[in-house]
Symmetry: C2
Subunit: 432 residues, 2 copies
Amino acid sequence: MRSRPLLHGMEVEICGWVSKIRDLGNLRFILVRDTKGILQVTLARKLVDAKLFDLTNELTIESTIKVKGVVKTNTLAKATGGVEIIPSFIEVVSIADTPLPLDTSGKIESCLDNSLNWRCISLRQQDSYNIFKIESALVQGFQEYLRDNEYQEVFTPCLIGAVSESGAETFEVKYFDRSAFLRQDPQLHRELTIAAGFEKIFEIGPSFRADPSHTPRHLCEFRSCAVETSWIGNELDTMHLESELIIHALKFVKNKCEKEIKELGVDICIPKTPFPELRFPEIYTILEERGKKIVRGEDYDRESEKILSQYVKEQYDTDFFFVNRFPAKAKPFYVMKVDNTQWARSVDLIYKGMEMSSGGQREHRYQQLIENLKERGMRTDTMEWFTKFFRFGVPPLGGFAIGIERLTMQLLNIENVREVTLFPRDTGRLFP
Amino acid sequence: MRSRPLLHGMEVEICGWVSKIRDLGNLRFILVRDTKGILQVTLARKLVDAKLFDLTNELTIESTIKVKGVVKTNTLAKATGGVEIIPSFIEVVSIADTPLPLDTSGKIESCLDNSLNWRCISLRQQDSYNIFKIESALVQGFQEYLRDNEYQEVFTPCLIGAVSESGAETFEVKYFDRSAFLRQDPQLHRELTIAAGFEKIFEIGPSFRADPSHTPRHLCEFRSCAVETSWIGNELDTMHLESELIIHALKFVKNKCEKEIKELGVDICIPKTPFPELRFPEIYTILEERGKKIVRGEDYDRESEKILSQYVKEQYDTDFFFVNRFPAKAKPFYVMKVDNTQWARSVDLIYKGMEMSSGGQREHRYQQLIENLKERGMRTDTMEWFTKFFRFGVPPLGGFAIGIERLTMQLLNIENVREVTLFPRDTGRLFP
């Protein structure tokens, strides 16, 4: 592949897609795009072999092509780095059909649905490529921080034998002669990995939600960076860890993807630590002062998240904050309560008005875990496969799972989570 | 957490599981295990607070405990690093029930099935922890090599709308009012990601096989490191890449996990490159000379893999080799054939007699792809969601997917793939 910068006289080979052809009869400009950008290949009938010139007669937009040639300075070719390639070899690898199902110049907006139907074509725009470059750097930033801090990467199963929550949003799988389910969150097996003697772990992998809502922020399959750690004092330790992790990842992205961030025209602010923390029941008061009435003891809603985000922005001038001490009854059985209260050590991270993660401290005391199940009217025998291990020594533990697509979306101010997903899955979409 | 080495007089805090208690009346030794090893806590009734001593009266094996104290040199405590801890603070965090469902000393062998039923207890042995430390280093080694060579990490869907191969080994998912399937391999979407303009990619994630065989090497859910690259000359390029990747990862493991490898008593050999390559149809002759008759043009079997491994070991003194040019008819439609022959540019990597990966060059020419479907008697319309993109410019491409559990298993000479999987899934097992 070519190296940068391209200097006058340098021999290069470029492989890519034809993004534009300008034909002036005896002079033909072919713009070739690869992941590094666009280069101009210039064919002048007087200067290149006639065969080479004719090879490009049938060329269409989005065909793939391999070109060898010499770099020449050309101040007119500003958009392509002030250089052009004078070819000595051209191989047309595949001719794209015409017309294209989508415009790839970025000039004609396609509706999202059509873009997704023709995903491999719509992704060829530089903006799309930049988004995924940043998403992948975000993951690398997470891993760097976690590994540097002795968190071990693990893989826990996506196929589970029983549903842990209501089951309403769980996909069912035909598993030989019985049913299995796709995990909504690697939560339970992360806890079991800690119970198995692993001190600090993380998992980057898929989760699945059979959520029938078709909104700009819901996917049926998404990726999370899930972290679990043991011997914590309380949920404040997981909050501290999460804020450090986020900050490290954002700095990593800012450093690694300077070009991509600039091309997308976004500004990445590194938040200050600690992130503000809002707690129930005080949250009811804050909301009420802003005209939103929630019955005390009840969970809040998405509108509340937005109101609180506005409040935090005004009070603390930051986009990130934690919500802690949710009403326990609104949370799953494995969450730890503040003893003798109705509040849970359950923490959400909110970023630019949207939930990024759920987490907090888990209940590690066997008796309390059984109590929690009973309080929710759940059968203790169906969860025994999980709870039985808590009879044999489990340390205090906690963690969180950050939605990778959602964080990317908010970071880059993108409206729809499908745009930060290579091949999104939603209620209506299983292809391509 | 404690730091090493532990020097005489140093104050430390240790958090872990009680692995042994020796009670001599007025002298009590408690061995505490964490991920770094085992330490001895010594309570002499004369030397420590009576309350502290009595706190440990009810202690059982596998209880979790937090201890603060001072390090003291003790040449008798050889097994625990020649030091002991004289405690000033003890918190018994959770008392483990007795009897334990499994022995955790490693002295009594449990049958694998029982071990897996009580996975969180059986995993607490140091050998298990070492295995997963090595597996996670292997993944880190893969990532380091791939990122250093500008491969971008991507996430492609596990939920797919249609099966690409026979469908016999595919799990079906109830997806709202229709059916989806779990990917057997991220193969097709990896190709589509290249078609979308990504030059070099990798994905670390799960794959699923509804394989009814219950063998020591089959899992229904496993992890792979899948790599796809474009603008290759032919399948030899993917073989070269794969061998470099394997060598880098093994060196990484050897370097990072010296202690764990030593404790497991294995020897990790770094193979020489290039790995030997055996090709069909020559393979038929090699097998025939060793008494194994396969009809020319037919695929080989697992016994053949073992015979060829023996042959390679004798001829080249190495455990790794490639098998190339499989009979095309035994391979999926997306594999590229050597033009005008019956052989495919389809490559398996074999390590110590077992298949580690499948891969090779893919067919990027639309017309040939359609031909391949027809040759297999497959309907072209059901695969159109995939093939349609090949009408719009796809470069030559290829790749492979390395089974992470299988590689770990062979590397560490472990007999059963379930032992290198935290929570294995097979025909009979969905719990824990």
